[in-house]
Symmetry: C2
Subunit: 303 residues, 2 copies
């Protein structure tokens, strides 16, 4: 198999396994598949899988897509001008899970593979990926479990990999206009090819495979935690920040929209219900105000 075929086989299987794990965790609803192909000059297609109104998951999407084009869009070449004008394949699994219960964090994961080609030059390929956790009412032990799982996945690839990709995640999932992180982070990497194909691919698999190990135990622990209108309200306001990040900053979202991707699959990441109120503030000393301390980078595994 060539590189594209190997990665594609892994990603399709990963999507199946993640959906199965999340269906088990939900215990009630199933993912519904919407397979699509992109018509016209630019090829591509995908398997969008969506869950709505489960017992635990209010809205979740786990998407596989493989698109190709004759010119990389601006979001992909902003920091790599040498790629302008390249044709490309982009392939990945991307997911966002929005639970009903405000005590369960929202989570996101993505693994992706790109090849860019220009006539008369060797193809350039790279991997990217990661996952991050966005709690509303954070539990320190959940954050530690999340990061321990991430570290266990990264450690076989070098002693600094977790630290570097954890820092990258804190920097990437940052809302500049709010001066806060999207949540408590996790892992983020991009442009990975200096390890060579085998090792880079293996790392992407380690990240993809560890996502449900990081997330499902948190669902299990928090899904029966009682909540009321107050907690729901706070969750809806905080979901607004999720929308702001995805639409203003997220390179994956902007790449998708700019490359003529399938809008409904890309924006499946947006929460099912969201509030914005002018200058909404948590009361000082309240359970809601606790979150603020979790919205700047922290070293979860030391001390």
């Amino acid at each position: 198999m060539n590189m594209l075929e190997q990665v594609k086989a892994y990603l399709l299987d990963l999507q199946d396994r993640i959906c199965a794990d999340l269906e088990r965790a939900d215990g009630q609803a199933r993912f519904v598949e919407d397979a699509w192909t992109r018509e016209g000059r630019l090829g591509g297609g995908g398997r969008t899988r969506v869950m709505n109104d489960g017992a635990v998951i209010e809205k979740g999407g786990v998407n596989f897509s493989h698109v190709q084009g004759d010119q990389l869009p601006p979001a992909a070449t902003a920091s790599r001008p040498e790629l302008a004008g390249c044709s490309y394949h982009a392939m990945g699994v991307s997911l966002v899970i929005h639970p009903h219960n405000p005590y369960i964090p929202t989570s996101h994961a993505n693994v992706r593979f790109f090849i860019a080609e220009k006539e008369g030059a060797e193809p350039i390929w790279w991997f990217g990926g990661g996952y991050d956790l966005t709690p509303y009412y954070p539990f320190e032990e959940d954050c530690i479990h999340w990061h321990e799982t991430a570290k266990a996945a990264a450690d076989p690839f070098g002693e600094n990999v977790y630290d570097e990709h954890k820092r990258w995640c804190d920097e990437y999932f940052y809302l500049k206009h709010r001066e806060e992180t999207r949540g408590v982070g996790g892992l983020f990497f991009d442009d990975l090819n200096e390890w060579g194909f085998e090792r880079s691919f293996a790392y992407m698999q380690a990240v993809g495979d560890s996502y449900t190990k990081a997330y499902v135990p948190i669902i299990e622990k928090r899904k029966d935690h009682e909540y009321g209108e107050r907690q729901r309200d706070f969750q809806l306001y905080r979901r607004g920040r999720y929308v702001e990040f995805n639409l203003v900053f997220d390179r994956g979202t902007l790449f998708g929209l700019q490359s003529g991707g399938r809008t409904e699959s890309i924006l499946m990441s947006l929460p099912p219900l969201v509030k914005w109120g002018y200058n909404w503030q948590a009361e000082e000393g309240s359970e809601e105000a606790r979150l603020n301390a979790f919205l700047s980078p922290r070293d979860w595994l030391k001390g």
Copy 2:
């Protein structure tokens, strides 16, 4: 008075008059003012005025702001590279009104004035502004009234002004990833200085002064129209498009966020409550499907 002072005096008065007109139209709630100043190296301040949970208006904001900085941000210089590195003043009134009743459209208006200065060169100033209407359940007569009012404001400034600025509005308020306009448009102009200061300023005033004449009669006509959960639900989904436009495309929003503007004042434009559902579609032939025909440019005043 110099240019800045003249424009500022007009804008503050405009904000007062618009708020008074909208309070009368609401009949119950009042705008609450939040005056702010920007600390630090970059000066500025504003009067944010917000209405919440009125009889008619679910959330509305009518903001005046005047900010200055030592370097124009990318959103302002993308199409004018000669302005890179200029210090600037930016001043305007910007408003968005989100009514409860899905039969009343959301509306937006903005008028603005910029001066950019570089040592050893004449200052460059320009005006911009406009307004646009976003119906959920459109009435043709409301769209025609809206455009007639816009045309009456523009006509004294030249016979093509309405046509050109109407077309500009259709082009500007366009969601490329949805292949639809934000609504039925209105007026949009930017970079206006070729008419000279007096006439440009007078046009900006004509636009600002005509906004409530365009909008309030529509509120009056539709505010008692009965609606139920179905109409509310459709409004919440359609509000998602409003968020997508403002966060992905709107230059005013991006300029504000990039220039270190006051986030809560800028994002007061976002709707109070919003839904996103995967691939939500109006049923063919339904009252909701009627909207689609209003989401591409149309010539409202002919035929």
